[in-house]
């Protein structure tokens, strides 16, 4: 069980209000990702849930009971830190055993759970090594192993992949997702990387300056971003935002079109421009189009093998039903 409810939770450091009153429901078994630019309060929010920071006001319920002033160890949550926070003077086995030792789990039960976790995380051969002798990905797995053996109500991840290289990150992303499918335990995951958020989450919480900008499934956020911030943050490459007469033509202050919703043609189309940089990824090509008179640059996606080059004139046609409209305040017009 791992149902977490935040009710009017705030956090202040001195006079600075980092988290203004905030409500959030995390359902049992859900994979929730907190995403936002750095300094948006996502890590603070996670630490509030963990109990490593005290809330300034408001209430946190875990499984229906008030956990606001319960010490971290008693909340039944396990956390994986950005730096992994392994204990360097202990072997991997002792690292994983530590929470159970503190909880007074019997020896044979400890051994059974360590074996289970090691098998699940491919750590069996490394149990007697020190963390210093492991690679980044292995350390990450030890940190997860240490969390698993506690059999917590929910896992908290604080940017766990940011210290890994790109290839490893993709692999660990999959492993964590699989782990979630297998354990079906609530997971709360903090990241600044919208790709991680989109690929892993059941539910994404987009944060800016401590405020929740939008909550929803990855595709909901992609299809119907509630405001300009979410529109710009979710999706890669970023959505093209166009202001001025073209937006007014759609009865909006700003319109947004994703690069993948614009058709590219060498001969005819709604907008005309000149190709600047083109990025060939093989499967796709991204063109940065200038001189459209709409915005400084428009990014558009074309197929992998389009015969257009730097300096060519292109015609762009947005898909009519994929145009997002926003008002003067940046809010979505339905």
């Amino acid at each position: 069980m791992g149902r977490i409810t935040l009710n009017k939770v705030t956090k202040r450091f001195g006079d600075v209000e980092v988290i203004p009153p905030l409500d959030l429901e995390i359902e049992d078994g859900e994979f929730v990702v907190f995403v936002g630019p750095s300094g948006c309060g996502k890590s603070t929010l996670l630490r509030l849930i963990a109990g490593l920071e005290d809330v300034s006001s408001g209430r946190i319920d875990i499984d229906g009971s008030d956990a606001t002033s319960v010490p971290p160890a008693k909340r039944g949550l396990a956390m994986v830190f950005q730096s992994y926070a392994l204990y360097p003077h202990m072997s991997v086995r002792k690292n994983i055993a530590f929470p159970m030792k503190m909880a007074g789990v019997p020896q044979d039960e400890q051994a059974r759970r360590i074996e289970g976790a090691a098998k699940a995380l491919n750590l069996t051969d490394y149990l007697d090594r020190r963390p210093g002798q492991l690679s980044g990905g292995q350390r990450q797995r030890v940190a997860i192993g240490r969390a698993i053996v506690r059999e917590p109500a929910a896992f908290l991840f604080d940017e766990p992949l940011s210290n890994l290289d790109a290839a490893l990150r993709v692999g660990m992303r999959l492993e964590i997702s699989e782990l979630h499918k297998r354990l079906a335990t609530t997971m709360v995951y903090v990241t600044h990387d919208q790709v991680e958020a989109m690929t892993m989450a059941d539910k994404i919480v987009v944060l800016r300056a401590g405020n929740i900008e939008q909550v929803g499934s990855p595709l909901e956020l992609y299809r119907t971003p509630r405001n300009l911030f979410v529109a710009g943050f979710i999706g890669s490459p970023r959505m093209n935002l166009i202001e001025g007469p073209e937006a007014a033509r759609h009865e909006a202050h700003t319109i947004g079109v994703r690069p993948e919703h614009i058709a590219v043609s060498g001969t005819e189309g709604t907008w005309k421009g000149r190709i600047g940089v083109s990025e060939h990824l093989g499967s796709d090509t991204f063109f940065h189009v200038h001189d459209t008179g709409l915005a400084e640059t428009l990014t558009v996606r074309a197929g992998g093998e389009v015969d257009l080059h730097h300096g060519d004139t292109v015609y762009l046609t947005p898909e009519a039903d994929k145009i997002h409209r926003f008002d003067r305040k940046g809010l979505r017009i339905a």
Partner: protein, 288 residues
């Protein structure tokens, strides 16, 4: 650009200082070694070469040698225990955020800057003096007879005086070590259910292990040679004569340079045994 050429040039440029340091060290050591095999008593005018190991035998078999070794061990051990345990405690305390932390830290370091002779005099005359010392007033205030510290508890008193000087040193090194401890690790331990005592025992203490060995190593080397504090307070009386003081006594008071030099060489050998022993422990710690 560490080419062969620049490296040999560097060696050439370093050579004078290395040679100077070598002479600085080797000449006194060589002289001591030479004297230790001689019957050299300047006041009687004896300067006879080569009495073999007679000086060594006399130095080691005298009853005061055994006493001095035991006194040295108690002194060094006692001071180490007080400074390391007290240092850990003080370092933990100074690591907590409180108002005036910076000033408090500087004040804690202060005793280390006081010269041994001065500190011993202050302790002897202002604090431990049985007539008008601070402790005497305190004892009288509670209606007790003042303790004659430097006579009745002479060894203990010297341990206290020297500890007072070295506690800041231990605190300083241990404090920097505590501050280098990753706070996420402590938080992880907290999440894992470790209380304050468990966190100290399983996280902080192992993290401090290296700093503690370094404190012990450096302090031991200096504490084996305590002299000023004894000279100023008890003059080696009341069971406070350590090895260094015994050598001084043999050379200056007995005017027997040969015997004293033999003692000096023995002390050098003993100190080196301790140093090698400690180096190995530190080396092991640094490997981990």
């Amino acid at each position: 650009m560490a080419t062969q050429h620049s490296r040999s040039a560097a060696r050439f440029m370093m050579a004078p200082s290395v040679v100077l340091l070598l002479i600085w060290m080797l000449v006194p050591l060589g002289l001591t070694l030479w004297f230790s095999f001689m019957d050299y008593r300047p006041q009687r005018g004896t300067f006879d070469c080569c009495v073999g190991f007679e000086n060594y035998a006399r130095f080691v078999t005298s009853s005061s040698f055994q006493d001095a070794v035991i006194t040295t061990l108690i002194m060094v051990g006692g001071i180490l225990a007080i400074t390391v345990i007290g240092g850990i405690f003080l370092a933990l305390l100074l690591d907590q955020p409180f108002w005036g932390q910076g000033v408090a830290r500087i004040l804690v370091i202060a005793p280390f800057f006081v010269m041994p002779t001065v500190s011993a005099l202050v302790w002897k005359n202002l604090i431990m003096n049985p007539d008008n010392g601070l402790l005497a007033y305190l004892w009288r205030f509670f209606g007790a007879d003042p303790v004659v510290w430097l006579t009745d508890y002479a060894l203990f008193s010297i341990v206290v005086i020297v500890s007072w000087m070295w506690l800041p040193f231990a605190t300083l090194i241990l404090l920097t070590s505590i501050q280098s401890l990753d706070s996420e690790r402590l938080e992880a331990a907290e999440m894992d259910g470790a209380g304050a005592v468990a966190r100290f025992w399983y996280m902080i203490l192992p993290h401090l292990a290296r700093a503690i060995t370094i404190v012990i190593l450096i302090e031991t080397i200096f504490l084996l040679a305590i002299f000023a504090e004894i000279f100023v307070t008890t003059g080696g009386a009341f069971g406070t004569q350590n090895l260094t003081y015994l050598i001084y006594q043999r050379v200056i008071e007995s005017q027997n340079i040969g015997l004293g030099s033999a003692g000096g060489i023995i002390a050098v050998i003993l100190a080196n045994i301790v140093a090698i022993f400690l180096m190995r422990i530190v080396g092991k710690n640094l490997d981990a």
